[in-house]
């Protein structure tokens, strides 16, 4: 457990020295979301209908943007190899890095989403459900995305290839995440959607760190 915290602290420390990288993903989120009213027109009812989907897709893309950076820097300067050779379990160090990644890339999206939801005229209840769905969903996206980032480490065309690999795997999260807000708007129960999302998160939390660690070792062979 200590190893997880040490790895977490290290990544947060590093990000703290390079704040601009974290902000870039956030700004991307804001810009992408803002493109949609410009693209489809400002009609209130339409925006209220597409709002949850747009915010979720933008969160997906913003997460995707931050994924290559998860392991690339450590791989380039050799510290990832040292982590793999450490007496402490590599998987725990990877978990620490994933936790840091979510705190830096995912959590800000969760905080920002309700604010942006107002741009789409979503009601207070809808905003609550949206925030909740992203709170459960963004860690899920980080976990799944980490596997892709590990598989494409140091590979030609990495960023685009990563998107191709990971976006299909994001779709269930998108369906239930955006779907939960739609369910709320339709007056149906939200628990079903959020429970499924939570179950997927539990499954990912169990398997993804292991799959990521194996993929990293393969990438460093």
């Amino acid at each position: 457990m200590r190893t997880v915290l040490i790895a977490l602290r290290r990544d947060l420390l590093l990000a703290g020295r390079r704040r601009s990288e974290v902000l870039t993903a956030l700004l991307f989120f804001v810009v992408v979301v803002s493109l949609f009213p410009i693209g489809v027109g400002p009609e209130r009812a339409l925006l209220r209908r597409i709002g949850p989907g747009v915010l979720w897709v933008a969160a997906l893309l913003a997460t995707l943007l931050g994924l290559p950076r998860l392991f690339a820097a450590d791989h380039a300067d050799g510290t990832l190899e040292q982590m793999a050779l450490s007496p402490q379990p590599f998987a725990l160090q990877v978990m620490g890095k994933l936790a840091a990644h979510w705190l830096l890339c995912g959590l800000p999206l969760v905080v920002l989403a309700p604010v942006l939801g107002l741009l789409f005229g979503l009601s207070a209840d809808a905003l609550l459900v949206l925030t909740l769905s992203l709170l459960i969903g963004t860690p899920l996206l980080s976990l799944i995305g980490a596997i892709g980032a590990a598989l494409t480490l140091g590979v030609r065309g990495g960023g685009v290839l990563l998107s191709l690999l990971v976006l299909p795997l994001f779709i269930p999260a998108l369906v239930f995440g955006a779907g939960s807000v739609d369910a709320q708007a339709a007056g149906l129960g939200v628990q079903g959607h959020l429970s499924v999302l939570g179950a997927m998160l539990a499954l990912a939390a169990f398997f993804a760190p292991w799959a990521t660690t194996v993929s990293l070792r393969i990438a460093m062979e």
């Binding site: 596997i147 598989l151 494409t152 590979v155 030609r156 065309g157 290839l161 191709l164 690999l165 976006l167 299909p168 795997l169 779709i171 269930p172 369906v175 239930f176 779907g179 739609d182 369910a183 997927m200 398997f207 799959a211 194996v214 993929s215 393969i218 990438a219 062979e221």
Partner: protein
């Protein structure tokens, strides 16, 4: 003891190469025969559908193609997992050989779906559960092939592909379930291609024959493709130089 020893003997690319060469025409002939039978029954014998007329007959290609796309993905993942677990090069080569065929069937399913939809409902595409799931499956295939193509070292490509295929195979039921859910949730959608006409017995026979035909075809093509992969990967070996000379 003897059976398993014989199996492992064929686990070497050098011994599998001639075996694959002999099996390939056999499976291809089976495929042709079964396809001829299936298409004849489907297009000639099966009755005209009351609601959809003649156009529904494309279902005899569309549905078997969807099933094969899904089935091949699972088989591919199995081979890839075997290659990873037992460090067996040939198993990984089989997985790589199957991927393009699986992608082809996914694409065929989508294309025949569009061909079905156009005359029936005047639209080239419908976001129904099966078509959407098959589209996502196609993305998974393309991702697998792209990843293997992008990695230069063949062993690393094998292992990375195996992890991706395993992650994919775990996700495929989740994706299908999610898309099904999504489809029922947004039931404002006009048509559903999953609502195939109720099946007469002859229709089922035709479908089954087409599935078997596609299956034999897949094996035949995989045999041919794996031979090419073996030649390419093992080209430094003595026996390859003799075989190609």
């Amino acid at each position: 003891m003897t059976a398993s020893w014989r199996f492992f003997r064929f686990a070497s690319p050098a011994t599998f190469y001639p075996l694959a060469g002999r099996l390939q025409p056999l499976f291809m002939s089976l495929a042709v025969v079964l396809a001829a039978a299936g298409l004849w029954i489907g297009f000639m014998v099966a009755p005209t559908d009351a609601q959809q007329g003649e156009g529904y007959r494309i279902i005899f290609v569309h549905v078997p193609a969807s099933w094969m796309a899904m089935f091949i993905y699972c088989v591919m993942a199995l081979w890839a997992a075997a290659g990873l677990a037992f460090n067996a090069r040939l198993a990984s080569m089989m997985a790589s050989a199957l991927a393009p065929t699986g992608a082809l069937f996914a694409f065929l399913s989508l294309w025949t779906g569009a061909l079905w939809g156009q005359p029936m409902w005047g639209t080239w595409w419908v976001w129904d559960a099966r078509l959407t799931s098959t589209l996502i499956l196609l993305f998974l295939y393309v991702g697998f092939m792209a990843l293997q193509a992008a990695i230069d070292d063949p062993r690393r490509a094998d292992k990375a592909g195996a992890i991706l295929a395993l992650v994919g195979v775990v996700n495929v039921p989740i994706i299908y379930f999610s898309v099904q859910w999504w489809s029922t949730l947004h039931q404002g959608a006009s048509v559903s291609m999953t609502k195939a006409p109720s099946m007469a017995a002859t229709m089922l026979v035709a479908m089954l024959l087409m599935v078997l035909a596609f299956w034999m075809y897949s094996i035949a093509v995989a045999m041919a493709r794996v031979r090419n992969i073996i030649l390419e990967r093992e080209r430094q070996a003595e026996w390859v130089r003799h075989a190609v000379a």
